[in-house]
Amino acid sequence: MVCIQEEKIDVQEILNSVIVPEAGGVDVFIGTTRNHSRGENVLALSYEAYVPMALELLRGIEKELHLRWNVHKVSIVHRIGDVPVTEASVVIAVSADHRAEAFSACRYAIDTLKKDVPIWKKERFENGEVWAENAEAKLAEKK
């Protein structure tokens, strides 16, 4: 299941969507907004997405995890709009028979999301605002 939503992310709901009786382990990555960036205090954070393309890429990641690892269920949820500090901007949950696969697949999912999925974060500071750029996304351009 993949989703882009403006509402606050309910982690328990996502867990319920990936835990199945056959699975022995679930790895969950939660990205939270930080109160600092570039050495300054972040006052507010806002996300925007190219929603149909982002959903398509998230579905692609979900499919790839199933192809490359022996995973049971995958959920990827990204929030857009304003995300207050300490609240989750992204939650990725992967269930698998064995934890090694849950960890690897979950890590791959967040790495790929940060590199390719068309979602942007604007950071507002006391002295202005700036569009953040993931280090992973910058590497991708050089290909």
């Binding site: 190219y50 901007s89 068309p118 942007w120 993931n134 996304a137 991708a140």
Partner: protein
């Protein structure tokens, strides 16, 4: 041919519009779209080396040949997660 160009994040701010319809010559490529806006907007020219182009919601290389009615998206470095 006519294509729709949509802009996100810094690219939208560089151009001052979220979407624009442009008339391009036959055989136009993604690169021509970047040329078109870079020549008109200084801020777009500045970020041009860093943007990626998607056509109909898939990333393409800059020499991708466009078709009438394509949706071309200008994608600055992403910062999701």
């Amino acid at each position: 041919m006519k294509i729709t160009v949509i802009f996100f994040a810094g690219a939208r701010e560089a151009v001052g519009e979220s979407d624009v319809t442009v008339e391009l010559h036959e055989n136009a490529t993604a690169n021509d779209v970047l040329d078109f806006f870079s020549s008109r907007f200084g801020a777009m020219k500045q970020i041009r080396p860093y943007v990626r182009v998607a056509v109909n919601q898939s990333y393409v290389l800059n020499d991708y040949a466009l078709h009438d009615g394509d949706e071309v998206a200008i994608i600055p470095p992403v910062s999701g997660g």
